[in-house]
Amino acid sequence: MELFHKETRMTDLIHSNYLLLPVINRFGIRLGFGDKTIREICAEMDIDMQFFLAIVNAFHNLDYFPAEELRAFSATLIVDYLKKSHHDFLKHRLPKIEELLERIVENSKSDELKLFRTFYNKYKADLVTHIKDEEENTFPYVLLLQKAEEQQLATLPEALLKYSIHSFEKEHTNVDEKLFDLKSIVIKYLAPDYNDRDCNEFLFELFEFERDITDHARIEDAILVPKVMVMEKLLKHG
């Protein structure tokens, strides 16, 4: 699989993998960029080009994960991207999935599909709690840590001393399990009373969402957490 580089045209990026559309949106890039290259768009919109390239390449190519390179970026940059992704999940992806699920349930006579809706709601509740926790606790802590590092504070504020990333570090696997199961059960065990088109659309959305959130979890687990651990070591233990 090819890697995108700074002279790759934005249009070729999208033609290569249209699933990158929401990803570039998170950087504020919208369609209508003509023949501009990644380098040109990033310069124009004041986007960190190396970070953008690392993110799109990691998303596009599942085997490619430049962990060390990504950990070198500032925590602010990483957290900002993660926050925008959360927003995308909660405001676009999940509502779309729910809309399709409602349509399926409405058009079916059996109770079975209501079961899937209950299951989905459980998953959503878990995910929303997890995201809220990150935005209200983990991310502010990380940004505070970053500020302390930049200002080279001699004494750290109490908020930082009280916690460590381990207080917040949550395993992503449990939340992801339910999503995987929902997909599996729909594919393997759905009874004949359903609408083909509706269910296919629903599964398309689930697959795309799963791809997105797996990539997201990878960034949190393999980039943010280790990076913060290093920051903590430097700041708290000299």
């Binding site: 085997d63 430049p66 962990a67 079975e112 209950t118 299951f119 995987f180 599996s184 059960i185 065990y189």
Partner: protein, 203 residues
């Protein structure tokens, strides 16, 4: 069988040539890097059969050091690309040699006919899983009702170890990991009587 070819060679032309050859024969995922340093960007790969095609001018111990991280979660073979077939005996290196002056047929034979030993991973993928045993159905029903491992062990008169064993087998056979998912499966397959139960609290 999930295969990857990883080309490690400083020459752009040689990398492109190898890619072109590989693509003509099969549609496979190919990764190309100029040197060992770039390999770390791919070391998160898992459960793949990987064939490294490496410049023979590179030091074997340096290659092995870079390839080592791939060996923990993947099946790995390493072949060395050399200029021409030596008339004299060459010491065995890695999983053998490829030669630039070989014919297309010879190259393809070496690249694609490499036997990969059957591993646990590939075996699992090809055998279709049998249905749940009666005992497994019992355990599944209890899991779906929200029982703990200890409670299940007591009610079914088996050890906790056996309960865990059954749960593992169930997950493997059904491909369902979460308790909620197992509950849904149990309800769909009428293993639980749902008449008097509030679904919301169960799942």
């Amino acid at each position: 069988m999930d295969r990857r070819f990883i080309i490690v060679h400083p020459s752009y032309i040689i990398r492109q040539g190898l890619i072109s050859l590989m693509r003509q024969e099969r549609t496979i995922d190919i990764i190309e890097v100029a040197g060992c340093d770039d390999l770390s960007n791919y070391s998160s790969m898992q459960k793949k059969n990987i064939l490294f095609v490496v410049d023979s001018a590179l030091d074997e111990s340096e290659i092995e050091a870079s390839v080592l991280s791939f060996r923990t979660s993947n099946l790995v073979k390493v072949m060395y690309l050399s200029g021409s077939v030596c008339k004299t005996d060459r010491p065995e290196k890695g999983n053998g040699y490829l030669y630039l002056d070989s014919s297309k047929e010879q190259l393809c034979e070496k690249l694609f006919e490499q036997p990969w030993s059957l591993t646990k991973i590939t075996e699992k993928e090809t055998i279709s899983q049998p249905m749940l045993t009666d005992r497994e159905k019992d355990v599944l029903t209890h899991v779906a009702m929200g029982k703990s491992n200890k409670e299940m062990a007591d009610e079914l008169s088996i050890s906790i170890h056996t309960v865990i064993s059954h749960r593992k087998n169930i997950t493997e056979k059904l491909g369902i990991k979460s308790i909620s998912g197992l509950t849904v499966y149990a309800i769909l397959n009428k293993l639980i009587d749902t008449h008097n139960i509030d679904l919301e609290s169960l799942i």
